[in-house]
């Protein structure tokens, strides 16, 4: 696994995402509730681009008329057929044994720590005063 510095944390707005080409794969990094998550940008079902997914809540209902919204923003709803996935590990909510989106470890590190390396050389300069999103692929 190689650690790639993909962006400054401020490059990905809260509630938004950004796609990066890393080792031939399109990887989408989501910024949800202050955390970052990296997933392959393709739904395992028919390949839809997950950058267009809706970040929804996990909706459960113990009985008719009562429902709970939990983990708001942490479920990805595919832009095509509406399959839902856990943003933390890519696991399908509908059929968790068979389907998941490939997910990648993400870290946020300061520019100062990054000076120590080793990291894949990036096309933009790393400043000690900023924080960066690191994706392991």
């Amino acid at each position: 696994m190689t650690r790639h510095i993909v962006a400054r944390t401020s490059d990905i707005p809260a509630g938004g995402n950004k796609v990066f080409g890393i080792e031939g794969r399109d990887i989408v990094v989501f910024h949800v509730n202050g955390e970052f998550f990296a997933l392959l940008n393709r739904c395992p079902h028919e390949g839809a681009p997950l950058e267009k997914a809706a970040c929804v809540a996990r909706l459960t209902s113990p009985e008719p008329g009562i429902y709970h919204r939990e983990r708001i923003g942490e479920m990805l709803r595919c832009p095509w057929h509406g399959w839902e996935f856990d943003i933390r590990n890519g696991q399908s909510w509908f059929d968790p044994k068979r389907f998941r989106i490939r997910s990648y470890p993400v870290a946020v590190e300061s520019g100062e720590d990054l000076q120590k390396g080793p990291y894949v050389a990036e096309t933009f300069p790393v400043h000690v005063e900023d924080n960066y999103v690191i994706v392991e692929v």
Binding site: E46, E51, A53, W80, G82
Partner: protein, 370 residues
């Protein structure tokens, strides 16, 4: 087992380098707004559309009987960056669908203003003229890959025939579309003049799911949910196949080709087996049938593939394809709707190169004479 599409995207997946060109039998263009029709619509009907709107059997003007799963039943990524609704921007349609999938021909299926189910039949006739003209002007004339269908509200057969004749003169339309949710089952005598004309003109009859015929969309009554109504597309098409076959349409119009669009195909084997069984027992009731119902299906009907059935085991999809007959299937994507099928991944069972060629291209080429 975990199914993950995690290999790097191949170049040929990204760009139009696939060797097999696709004929997509179900693409939905949309009006940017009703104003797009003004140049094709007499003042009187423009005014009518503004003042009264479109009158379908729906709860309120501009609604559908069942709230859909996504706005305008569209893929979330199909909203053009230039604004407007999904399917309304040709350049974006090219960029997102026609070019990357190497679509050789795309057959337009217009659902705007659902002309088949307009309650005011004269308004419906005016709108169908306008929509048919708009298909050429806004789509087919701007991209040679896109092919228009003659939309016909079949419940006024005379106006329908007049519209077929008007459009057919241009030589630019490739099929005649009617709705599977009309006032009566499609095999009924009142609709025969349309089939006679379609046969005369050698234009296939296309039947795309949907519509508001006033009947419950299932034999059991009105569904509660969109999920349930969506399921009923297959029942509706199954009942129309039964009606067309048992009323003897293929016997009466032996050169008529009939294409069911967006009804899927998983239900067809059972429908054929059952019709054959009944035919064996009750053939004296339907003496106009000279052959087994399944033989008519296998000679006169075609089915588009989307939304494809997804059995847990790939080999079951394979069996379904064999039971229906590989020659009967025409690939369709349903772009830009939410239940779109991606040509690369929709068939989750191996197909030989020859089989792929049939489903994705040559079957449709033969039906539509491309």
């Amino acid at each position: 087992m975990s199914d993950v599409i995690d290999r790097p995207m191949r170049d040929e997946d990204r760009t139009a380098q696939t060797r097999l060109k696709i004929i997509d039998c179900d693409i939905h263009p949309s009006l940017r707004s009703h104003n797009d029709l003004n140049e094709f619509l007499p003042k009187r009907w423009q005014q009518h559309l503004k003042e009264y709107g479109s009158h379908l059997r729906t709860p309120y003007i501009g609604t559908t009987p069942y709230p859909r799963s996504s706005p305008l039943i569209a893929r979330r990524d199909a909203w053009p960056p230039t604004g407007g609704v999904p399917g309304s921007d040709l350049d974006f349609m090219r960029k997102q669908h026609l070019d990357p999938f190497d679509v050789e021909y795309g057959i337009l299926q217009v659902l705007d203003l659902f002309i088949f189910s307009q309650q005011n039949l004269e308004f419906g006739a005016a709108i169908q003229r306008a929509i048919n003209d708009w298909q050429l002007a806004f789509w087919a004339h701007r991209d040679v890959r896109l092919k228009a269908s003659i939309l016909v509200g079949q419940d006024d057969t005379a106006l329908g025939i007049a519209e077929i004749d008007r459009c057919a003169k241009t030589g630019e339309y490739i099929q005649i579309n009617v709705s599977p949710r009309a006032n009566e089952p499609l095999g009924r005598r009142r609709y025969w003049p349309i089939y006679a004309r379609a046969q005369e003109l050698d234009l296939p009859l296309g039947i795309h799911v949907g519509g508001y015929g006033g009947h419950a969309p299932t034999g059991g009554g009105w569904p509660s949910y969109y999920c349930e109504e969506h399921q009923s597309n297959a029942h509706t098409v199954a009942s129309q196949l039964t009606s067309l076959v048992l009323e003897g349409i293929p016997e009466r119009f032996p050169r008529l080709k009939i294409v069911f669009i967006e009804g899927g195909f998983g239900w067809i084997p059972s429908a054929m087996w059952r019709m054959d069984q009944h035919f064996e027992r009750f053939r004296s009731e339907v003496p106009h049938l000279k052959r087994k119902p399944s033989e008519y299906v296998k000679d006169h009907f075609w089915f588009t593939t989307q939304p494809i059935d997804e059995p847990d085991e790939a080999k079951h999809l394979r069996s379904l394809i064999e039971w229906v007959g590989i020659d009967r299937l025409l690939f369709s994507s349903d772009y830009p709707h939410w239940d779109y099928d991606d040509a690369r991944y929709a068939f989750k069972t191996p197909l030989t190169e020859a089989e792929r060629r049939k489903i994705f291209n040559s079957n449709a080429r033969a039906v539509y004479k491309f």
